[in-house]
C-alpha cells in the first residue's frame, strides 16, 4: 500500500513540477488552539530543488488522467509515455498532514488533469481541501487550481477553503493557445478568473463590515504564462500581463520558460530548441518593475518593440533609452525616482531617504546601504561623485555595464521566481525576496 502511494507521488509530483507557482504568501491565517498550522503572510520556502526553485508546498496533481490534448503539457491525452494514476482524497490528505507535521511544507498546492469533466475534477480538489480544514483542523496554506469550466458553486466552495486560487492562462495569446490546445480558448480561462476576482472583492468588502465574514482566497489569485512554446514577443506577453494586473487584479503572474520534452509537432523540437531561461529571467525583472516599482508598461517594453533587451536588465535598458532623465541627485530626488535608478532597490532607496534626514549622503555611504555601484555609478550624483558619461555617451555606459560578457550569454543564476513576498517580522526581507529585489534592481 505504502509503496503504491510513493509511486503515485513520484508520478504526480513530476507532472506538477512545471507549474512555477509555489508561493505560500499573501494570506494570513491564524491557527486555533487545537488546530494545526497557520500561514504567516510572508511564506516560507522549506527547501529548494537542485534547479534552485523554492519548495514551499506539496505540489501534486490529483490525477494525471486528462481528456485534453494540450501540446505543452506532459499529461496531454496523446502522450503515451506517461503512466496514468490518481490519488484518493484520503491519500492526499494523509500526505499533506504527514509532511506538514514534520515541517517539510507550508501546505498543499493541488491541481489535476481533467479526468472526466471540470466539475467532477474540481469536486475532488474541494473534497481534499474540505477534509484538511474540517477533519484535521488544518490551517496551513492551500492553493487550489481552478479547472476551466468549473461551476460557480464549486468555485465558491473552493474559494472559501483555499488561501489562493489560480487558473493558468498558459499561452500568452488566444491564437497561440488554440494552435497548441485545440479544446481551450480564452473565455474558459477568463470566465473563472473573473468569478474568482469578484469573489475576492466581495469577501474583502464583507470582511471590512464584519470581521467574522467568511474568507475567500485571501492570498489572491495568480496565473502562469508559458513562454517559448508559441511565438509571442515579450511586448505581447507584458501587454497581457499588464491587463491581468489591472483588470483581473492578479496578485502574481508566473513565467515558465517552455521545456521541450518532444513527441509533439505543435511545439518546438527539443533537438533544435533551448529553454528560454534567460528570457524568463528578464520577464520576471520586467514584471517586478510593473508591480513594485511603479513603471508603466510602455516604459518597460516600448510600443512596437519586440523582446526585452537581453544584454541589460529592463531598468537599465529604460535608463539607457532615457539618458536625459539621469543622473539623479541622491540627496534631493524623491523616493519614486531613486527606485528608478539602475542598481537601487526599494530597500536601498528607503535607506537613502532615512539617512538624508540626518545629513548629506556621500558616495562611500551607498555601498553599505546595498546599492549596486557597478550600475548605479553612472546614474547617481552625490557631492563627491558626478558622473558625466550618461550625458555624453549612453552607448559607452552600456558597454561598461555589459562589460566583457558576450551579447546574450545566459546569466541564469537569478531566473527563479521570487517565492515570497513580504518580510519576516521586523522588516527583514527574506533571502528569497531579497534575491528578487536585487534581480530587479
Amino acid at each position: 500500500m505504502r509503496r503504491q502511494v510513493i509511486e503515485k507521488l513520484e508520478i504526480l509530483a513530476d507532472a506538477a513540477k512545471y507549474d512555477a507557482s509555489c508561493a505560500s504568501s499573501g494570506g494570513k491565517r491564524e491557527n486555533s488552539k487545537t488546530g494545526i498550522g497557520n500561514s504567516t503572510g510572508a511564506g516560507i520556502c522549506h527547501s529548494y530543488t537542485e534547479d534552485g526553485r523554492c519548495v514551499s508546498l506539496l505540489k501534486v496533481l490529483f490525477s494525471n488522467v486528462c481528456i485534453y490534448d494540450c501540446a505543452y503539457c506532459v499529461s496531454r491525452r496523446s502522450n503515451e509515455e506517461v503512466t496514468r494514476v490518481a490519488f484518493t482524497v484520503q491519500e492526499v490528505v494523509d500526505l499533506t498532514m504527514d509532511f506538514y507535521k514534520r515541517n517539510y511544507i507550508e501546505g498543499l498546492f493541488l491541481s489535476s488533469g481533467i479526468f472526466k469533466d471540470a466539475d467532477t475534477t474540481t469536486e475532488k480538489l474541494v473534497a481534499v481541501a474540505r477534509s484538511l480544514r474540517h477533519d484535521h483542523g488544518f490551517n496551513g496554506y492551500i492553493h487550489l487550481k481552478v479547472i476551466p469550466g468549473a461551476s460557480a458553486e464549486l468555485l465558491t466552495a473552493a474559494g472559501r477553503l483555499a488561501d489562493r486560487l489560480s487558473v493558468n492562462v498558459e499561452i500568452p495569446s488566444e491564437v497561440g493557445l488554440k494552435s497548441v490546445a485545440p479544446e481551450k480558448d480564452y473565455a474558459q480561462v477568463f470566465g473563472p478568473m473573473a468569478t474568482v476576482r469578484d469573489g475576492i472583492d466581495e469577501a474583502k468588502e464583507e470582511r471590512q463590515k464584519d470581521r467574522r465574514a467568511p474568507r475567500f482566497a485571501a492570498g489572491g489569485q495568480s496565473t502562469q504564462l508559458v513562454v517559448g512554446a508559441t511565438p509571442e514577443s515579450d511586448r505581447q506577453v507584458l501587454e497581457l500581463v499588464d491587463g491581468l494586473y489591472s483588470e483581473q487584479k492578479l496578485r502574481r503572474v508566473y513565467y515558465s520558460g517552455f521545456i521541450a520534452l518532444g513527441g509533439d509537432d505543435r511545439v518546438p523540437d527539443p533537438e533544435t530548441y533551448r529553454a528560454p531561461l534567460h528570457r524568463e529571467h528578464r520577464l520576471y525583472q520586467a514584471d517586478w518593475l510593473l508591480r513594485k516599482y511603479g513603471f508603466a508598461l510602455d516604459e518597460v517594453a516600448p510600443p512596437g518593440s519586440e523582446n526585452l533587451d537581453d544584454e541589460v536588465d529592463p531598468k537599465t535598458a529604460y535608463a539607457l533609452r532615457f539618458p536625459e532623465l539621469f543622473p539623479v541627485d541622491v540627496n534631493a530626488a524623491p523616493v519614486e525616482w531613486l527606485q528608478r535608478v539602475p542598481g537601487l532597490g526599494i530597500r536601498s532607496s528607503k535607506r537613502i531617504i532615512a539617512a538624508r534626514r540626518r545629513g548629506v549622503v556621500r558616495w562611500a555611504d551607498l555601498r553599505a546601504m546595498g546599492v549596486v555601484l557597478k550600475r548605479a555609478q553612472h546614474f547617481l550624483v552625490t557631492p563627491d561623485h558626478k558622473p558625466h558619461l550618461i550625458g555624453q555617451d549612453p552607448g559607452a555606459v552600456r558597454q561598461r555595464i555589459v562589460g566583457g560578457r558576450a551579447a546574450g550569454s545566459p546569466q541564469l543564476s537569478l531566473f527563479a521566481p521570487a517565492p515570497l513576498a513580504g518580510a519576516v517580522p521586523g522588516g527583514v526581507a527574506t533571502a528569497a525576496s531579497g534575491a528578487a529585489v536585487r534581480a530587479a534592481a
Binding site: I6, E10, I36, S47, R358, V424
Partner: protein, 272 residues
C-alpha cells in the same frame, strides 16, 4: 528628550548576559551619565576591571520593560531589531546596542534608520543576519516522530545547528503552528533545546515553551512509520527537480551545505 550620553572609556558594566539585563544596564548608564566602553558578565570578572570603574547591574524586568516601551514609542520594531542583533553573540555587540538605544532616545527614529550612523547600520545588518538565520530555521527544521512504547505518547524532535542563538526567536512561530504537538528543537551548537509542551500536559502557570540544556532531555525511539514518511519526502524532493534547469550554484546559495546534515531530503535514507 535628553542629549546623547558620552562614552566613558574607563567605564565597564557587568550584566547577567540577558537582553533584559542589557536594557537594565542602559537605565543604569543613563543614571550614571555615561555609556560604558565594554559590557561584561557578572559571573565572569573582566581582566581589565582593575583599571577602570565597573558598574554591576542586576537584571530588572520592570526597568527593562520601561526602556522597551520607550524605544517602541520612538520607533516600533526597534526593540526586536536590537534583540536580534544582540542574539548574534558578536563581541562588542552589547556596546553597539547601548549606543543605538541612546541615540534613539536622544535623536528619535531618524537616528535608528540612518545607515551612515555606525551603530544603526551594524545593528540593522546583524539583525538582518540573525533574522535570516531564524527564518531559515523556521524553514529547515525537520521534526521526527518518536513514540513511547508504553504510554504511546508522541514526541516530535528536531536537531539543528544555527549560526546564531535563534531559539528565542523561534518560540512564537512554532508554538502558533503546532500548539497540540509535544515538540522540541535542539541547537546542537549551543547544546540548548527549545521545548514545547501542549496544554493538557502542562502544569498551571507553566510556560508552553522553555529553553533548557539539551543534555537534560531524553527521547523515546523513532516511530515505526517515521522512516517511511522520510522516504516519501525524499521521493517527492527528487521528483520535483527539473533536470533541464539544474543549477547547483543557485541551489547552494539557497541551501548552503552547513544545513545539509539536518535536512531529511539531503540524507540517503539507507537506514530506512
Amino acid at each position: 528628550m535628553a542629549a546623547a550620553l558620552p562614552v566613558d572609556a574607563t567605564l565597564a558594566v557587568e550584566t547577567d548576559g540577558s537582553f533584559p539585563g542589557l536594557l537594565s544596564a542602559y537605565a543604569a548608564a543613563y543614571r550614571h551619565g555615561a555609556l560604558p566602553a565594554s559590557v561584561g558578565r557578572l559571573d565572569e570578572p573582566a581582566p581589565g576591571a582593575l583599571f577602570g570603574q565597573t558598574l554591576p547591574v542586576a537584571s530588572d524586568a520592570a526597568l527593562a520593560g520601561r526602556v522597551e516601551r520607550g524605544l517602541e514609542r520612538v520607533k516600533p520594531g526597534l526593540v526586536g531589531r536590537l534583540h536580534r542583533a544582540f542574539l548574534s553573540e558578536r563581541p562588542g555587540m552589547e556596546v553597539t546596542v547601548l549606543r543605538l538605544v541612546d541615540a534613539a532616545q536622544a535623536g528619535g527614529a531618524v537616528a535608528a534608520e540612518d545607515w551612515t550612523f555606525e551603530p544603526a547600520r551594524v545593528v540593522a545588518q546583524w539583525s538582518g543576519r540573525v533574522g535570516r538565520e531564524a527564518h531559515r530555521m523556521e524553514a529547515f527544521v525537520r521534526f521526527e516522530r518518536h513514540t513511547d512504547d508504553e504510554s504511546g505518547a508522541e514526541r516530535w524532535a528536531a536537531v539543528a545547528r544555527p549560526e546564531y542563538h535563534v531559539l528565542p526567536l523561534l518560540t512564537e512561530h512554532f508554538a502558533a503552528r503546532y500548539p497540540t504537538m509535544a515538540w522540541r528543537i535542539v541547537d546542537a551548537r549551543r547544546r540548548l533545546a527549545l521545548v514545547h509542551t501542549p496544554e493538557p500536559d502542562r502544569q498551571p502557570g507553566e510556560p508552553a515553551t522553555v529553553i533548557v540544556p539539551a543534555d537534560t532531555l531524553d527521547l523515546p525511539e523513532a516511530a515505526p512509520d517515521e522512516a517511511a514518511a522520510q522516504a516519501m519526502w525524499r521521493a517527492y524532493f527528487q521528483a520535483v527537480t527539473i533536470p533541464e534547469r539544474r543549477n547547483l550554484r543557485l541551489h547552494l546559495r539557497h541551501v548552503p551545505k552547513r544545513y545539509w546534515p539536518y535536512l531529511t531530503e539531503k540524507q540517503t535514507g539507507d537506514q530506512a
